[in-house]
Symmetry: C2
Subunit: 165 residues, 2 copies
């Protein structure tokens, strides 16, 4: 999978794709992508930086939506159940899912310089988890895989700014 988040790209395309994808997916499943749910999804997709629940809530409030915590947590729950976003436990923030059709849990790269998250679908990691679990007779149900560090773009920039370090 390409590291879209960390590369220059037309992000409006990410948003429109995600929303239309969500609309057709919900239509297929008979699930209701109501205005507040769709708006939360759009806000989550506003960038590749994961966003917190209360930041979402503040933005909803600015737009005249109801803005008590249950509103946003319910929307996040719905979107999560339908695989449209993921929660990043290590930072208590939410990020859109690039591939909601196939149920999965992501592996994430989180750049602590630009604060962007990239979802991976690493066969290496999937296999490694499987092997490690099997060694212990452990049956996997879900997982949290979040790798924090610096993305290539931010590494390159830091070399330009401070080439001798």
């Amino acid at each position: 999978m390409l590291a879209t988040a960390f590369s220059p790209h037309d992000h409006t395309h990410c948003i429109s794709t995600a929303i239309s994808h969500a609309q057709s997916l919900c239509a297929d499943r008979g699930a209701r992508l109501t205005p507040v749910r769709q708006r939360v999804l759009e806000l989550v997709w506003h960038s590749h930086q994961p966003i917190g629940a209360y930041e979402l809530l503040a933005r909803l409030a600015n737009e005249g939506f109801n803005s008590a915590p249950p509103t946003v947590y319910r929307a996040l729950e719905f979107l999560s159940e339908h695989g449209l976003l993921h929660k990043l436990d290590s930072i208590n923030a939410y990020v859109g899912c690039c591939n909601p059709d196939t149920p999965h849990q992501g592996h994430f790269l989180l750049c602590k310089v630009c604060n962007q998250a990239q979802e991976l679908d690493s066969q290496y990691i999937t296999l490694a988890l499987k092997l490690s679990a099997e060694q212990h007779g452990f049956e996997i149900q879900s997982h949290t895989i979040e790798i924090v560090g610096t993305c290539q773009g931010c590494l390159d920039k830091s070399k330009i700014v401070a080439p001798n370090l």
Copy 2:
């Protein structure tokens, strides 16, 4: 590494080893394992079930220790800095580290039946993370790897109780 948490074992040995290990480690480093810090470490090691900060706080209070949140969070911070425990982000709970000498971040198996955690040091996972990051030019600084499921012991028990399922 053996899956100690998930196997029958003399847990008093785990506790005493962890504490004496912590004592010598702190002595070597000139760090002060004060009474409240040591007691928090003992409470964390009370079992292989990760324990929450406020549960620790309640137990400290029962024993006459000061019991405002900063007390326990400071102790947890100290113990974490010295590699004596790990936080599990997916459940906001803390668990003792089996191997505090070598700085590392663990990979964990969390059994959702018995609520116990086992730290792994899987070379498979370490390598997989490294390869995945390299593919994206990403420089790893830390990670959160938490695998939730059912341990062998609990799987075996469920087969005995409900052999036809």
